[in-house]
């Protein structure tokens, strides 16, 4: 289990192998990789710079991972997020969840990504042919995160 912020690229295969090593209880590995696209909102993107809030970022991600482990029966969790300059086709983020069965691993992996998108202090600035611009937060990301909120109690 772990949370890492780094400028360098990651090798998902090597990370998964390390997470699974010598653990015969693992029956499922769910993973997600977020990748830099060459366009956003109809405009070409030539590169992006990812900024974060050192200190808070690690705490926020650790809290999200702890919540995932409390909600689903999973074993190991790894989150690797890159910062700095990235180009289209570059990998941005890796989430890996291992568990005994796929259902819990899939759910925990998706939950972690949805919460990361709305709660971890990262910001993207894109370079476009029209100049640089900060990426705006999307309402659809808030809606994706809200799916995981516990139902509101109707008790008085």
């Amino acid at each position: 289990m772990g949370v890492r912020i780094q400028t360098k690229d990651f090798d998902a295969g090597a990370e998964i192998a390390a997470l699974r090593r010598n653990n015969p209880k693992i029956g499922a590995v769910a993973s997600f990789i977020g990748v830099c696209r060459d366009a956003n909102e109809g405009t070409a993107v030539t590169k992006m710079t990812l900024e974060h809030y050192p200190g808070m970022t690690e705490k926020a991600l650790e809290k999200i991972v702890a919540e995932a482990k409390a909600r689903w029966d999973v074993m190991e969790v790894l989150v690797v997020h890159r910062v700095g300059e990235l180009k289209p086709t570059d990998q941005i983020v890796l989430v890996v969840v291992t568990g005994a069965h796929r259902g819990e691993a899939f759910a925990a992996c998706e939950f972690i990504m949805d919460y990361l998108k709305t709660r971890a202090p990262f910001w993207k600035k894109e370079e476009t042919p029209q100049g640089a611009r900060w990426v705006e937060a999307r309402a659809s990301d808030d809606e994706a995160a809200q799916r995981w909120e516990p139902p509101k109690s109707s008790a008085a």
Partner: protein, 85 residues
Amino acid sequence: MKIKVLYLASLREQLGKSGEDLEIPAATSTVAGLRALLMARGGAWQAALAQGRALRVAVNQEMAQPATPVKPGDEIAFFPPVTGG
């Protein structure tokens, strides 16, 4: 009281500043109070921190609300909604 304030991402660019150590009146005891104090500087401060602007605040690296208390020595960060992943 002395506090540390940080401005991140687009907010840093709008304010031309990444952060500052501030001495604020003891009566400024909440996040909302600090925001009002900074807005009173006028100009870019008034515009960037105006009510209605999508803005997030963290106190000591935990997400905060307008009513969250501000205490001596706290680190308060203002930033736009996050866009990682």
